[in-house]
Symmetry: C2
Subunit: 342 residues, 2 copies
C-alpha cells in the first residue's frame, strides 16, 4: 500500500490550530515533524520487539484548560489518555511515567489534587506509575501545570491491527456517545453563556478492548481513540490510509441531547468534538455482532453501536448516509474551535 | 536497609527551587509526589520485567533557557538526558518518544532546528525516535517550546546496580570535567557581565558505560548522571541511601579553569553545577583501575578520574579531603542558583 504524497508544511509560525488534532495538526506532523524524525507512527503507539517481548510504547502531553472540569481533571486525563493509546494498539497497559512542568506560584493544593487524580486513575486502570520528573518554570511561563505521560504495554498476541488489513464490508464499532469531553471543557471555561448537565467521558477503554479481543480477535482489524479532531478525523485518517471509504450511518451515532444542543448553538459538528473515553474499532462483518455484544456487556458499554461500514469508494472519503437517500461528506476538523481540549 | 523517615513537605506554593534538583526538589519529590504515587524510584529509570524482557523506562521534561547555547540546544539535551538516564541504570538505550509543548507564535524555523537536533542526537546515540505528540498553548503560556522525552532500554544482564550493594572501600569514578553545562547556560543568558570559552558537555554517556560494563561488570555497584544539583547532590543521595560516607578527593575532580573562575566570581560550588554528559560510578576496589582505563580509552573519556572512596563514617555524609589534612562537608544544593538549566 503506497501512502499518498506528504503534505508540505509552509507555515512560518505555530498557531493554536496546529495542536487541535485536525488538518493543521496533520500538516505539521506529516509535513515537518515526521519527515525530520524519520518516523511514520507519530500518531499511534509505537510497537517494539525488545528482548523477545512485544511492547507498545506511547507518550502524550496534556495542557487542558481548565485543570479541573466536570467528570475529571488534567491528572485523570493524563493517565487515561495514555492508557487508551496503548489499549487501542492492542496492548495491555502496564506502566506509566509522568513528567510535570509546574509554574512557579502554583498552589500545592492544586498539585496535590492532580497527583491524587493520577494515582486514582492509574489504580482504576490497573497500571502503575513507576517514575517521572518535575520541572519548574517562572510564573507566567506555563498555565498552572502541564503533564506529559508515557506508557508501556504488553501486546496481546491474539490481535494484529493495521489499516492495511481493513476490507470493504468491515463494520465500524463505536463504544458510546460522542462529544461529551470536548463540550464539557468548552462549557467549563465559562466563556459562553451556556450550561448543560454534562461531564467528560474520561475513562480507561482497556476493559472494553479486552472484552472485544476475547470475543472477536480474529476479526479485529483496526482501533483508534477519537480524541482531538473527533470521530470524523479518526475515520478520515483511516479512509486516507486504506484508500477505501467509510459509510457512516449518522443516525446510529449515539450523541447526548446536551451535546447535540450545544453543537447546534455553537455551529460545531459533534463528529469533530474530542472524546476521552471512547474508541472506534473496525471489525470483520462475521465478527461484528459478537464484538458489539462483548462491548455492550462491559459496564459502561451499553451505548456502543455499529455505526457504519467500510466500502470501496469514493476512495479516501468518509460520508454520512442520512437515511433520506441523500449523503454528505464528513471532512476532517479544519481550524481550531476548541484549543487546549486535552 | 531501612530508609530514613520521609521529609514532610509543608510549602504552600511551588517555587523555582523545587525544580532545581537540590534539597527543595528532594522535599517535593519525597514529601509529596512519591508518597501519593506510591513510588520509590522517581529519580531513576524504572526497571520492569515485561514479557520476559528486562527493561528500563525513564522520562524527563526539558525547559532549558535559552533554547540554544554553546555546545547544544534543548532538542539535543532532551535526547541525551533520557539516553543517559537509561545508560546509568545499566540499560542499552533503544527507543525514545518525544512530546512537544509549543507556544503559539513560535517560529517554525526554531521548531525545525530543534527537531533536527533531536534527530541528530538520536542518531549519534544509536536510538530511534519512535513516536511522540504535539500540543500548542497560547502565546505567553510557555516559553517557546518545552520537550518531554521518554525512553526505553534493554537491561544489560551482566550488571546489577543498587545503592544496597555499595561497600566501604569502593571507589568513586567520575567520567570527566564538571560544571561545563551549568556554567555555559548561565553565561548564555547574558544576564551576567561574564564571558568564557566554554560549551555544554551534553553527550550520550552510553559508550563509556558500555566500556565500563565490559571491563568491570562484576565490580560495578551504582551509577548516576549528576545533572541538576551536580556531583555533590548525587553523592549525597548515595551517602544517604547507603548510610555510608563518601570521602571526596577534591583535588582530583577535573574542573576547567573557565568553570572554576566563573564559580569563584559567582560564589558557586562547581560540585553543585549541572552536567549533561558525565556520570559517576561506584566500583569495587579490585575493579577500579580496569574501570578507569576502560572509560579513558573511549574517545572523550581521557579526563575520567577516580575521585574518592566510600568509607564507613560519618554515615550519610559526603566530605572533601582537601589534601592539607583538613576536610569540609560537601552538602546538597540548597536554593536555586540556576533555574531552568535543563
Amino acid at each position: 500500500m503506497t501512502k499518498p504524497p506528504l503534505i508540505r508544511f509552509k507555515d512560518s509560525q505555530i498557531e493554536l490550530a496546529h495542536g487541535a488534532g485536525g488538518k493543521a495538526s496533520r500538516r505539521l506532523v506529516e509535513g515537518l515533524i515526521a519527515p525530520i524524525l524519520g518516523n511514520p507512527s507519530l500518531d499511534d503507539a509505537a510497537l517494539l520487539s525488545l528482548g523477545g517481548a512485544g511492547l507498545a510504547f506511547t507518550a502524550d502531553s496534556f495542557v487542558v484548560k481548565p485543570l479541573r472540569f466536570p467528570g475529571g481533571s488534567i491528572g485523570e486525563l493524563a493517565v487515561n489518555g495514555t492508557v487508551n493509546d496503548l489499549a487501542v494498539s492492542g496492548a495491555q497497559p502496564v506502566a506509566l511515567l509522568s513528567t510535570l512542568i509546574l509554574e512557579a506560584g502554583l498552589s500545592v493544593q492544586v498539585l496535590q489534587a492532580e497527583l491524587e487524580a493520577i494515582q486514582q486513575a492509574a489504580q482504576t486502570a490497573g497500571v502503575q506509575v513507576v517514575g517521572g520528573d518535575t520541572k519548574v518554570v517562572e510564573h507566567g511561563k506555563a498555565d498552572g501545570l502541564y503533564i506529559s505521560t508515557s506508557g508501556v504495554g504488553l501486546l496481546d498476541l491474539r490481535v494484529r491491527l493495521s489499516a492495511a488489513s481493513v476490507r470493504p464490508g468491515d463494520q465500524v464499532l463505536l463504544s458510546g456517545p460522542i462529544g461529551d469531553h470536548g463540550i464539557t471543557i468548552l462549557l467549563a471555561r465559562g466563556e459562553l453563556d451556556l450550561e448543560a448537565d454534562l461531564k467528560s467521558d474520561t475513562r480507561s477503554v482497556w476493559p472494553f478492548v479486552q472484552a472485544l479481543i476475547t470475543a472477536a480477535a480474529p476479526g479485529l482489524r483496526w482501533m483508534r481513540d477519537p480524541t482531538r479532531g473527533g470521530v470524523a478525523t479518526a475515520l478520515n485518517e483511516l479512509a486516507r490510509d486504506t484508500r477505501l471509504a467509510i459509510r457512516l450511518l449518522e443516525e446510529r451515532v449515539p450523541i447526548r441531547d446536551e451535546v447535540r444542543g450545544a453543537c447546534e448553538i455553537l455551529g460545531l459538528d459533534p463528529l469533530h468534538i474530542a472524546n476521552e473515553g471512547q474508541f472506534l474499532a473496525i471489525v470483520a462483518p462475521e465478527y461484528a455482532e459478537a464484538a458489539l455484544e462483548a462491548v455492550q456487556a462491559v459496564p459502561g458499554g451499553a451505548e456502543a453501536r455499529l455505526v457504519g461500514e467500510v466500502v470501496e469508494s469514493p476512495a479516501g472519503v468518509v460520508y454520512s448516509a442520512t437515511g433520506y437517500s441523500s449523503s454528505r461528506v464528513v471532512d476532517m476538523l479544519v481550524g481550531d474551535p476548541l484549543p487546549r481540549i486535552c
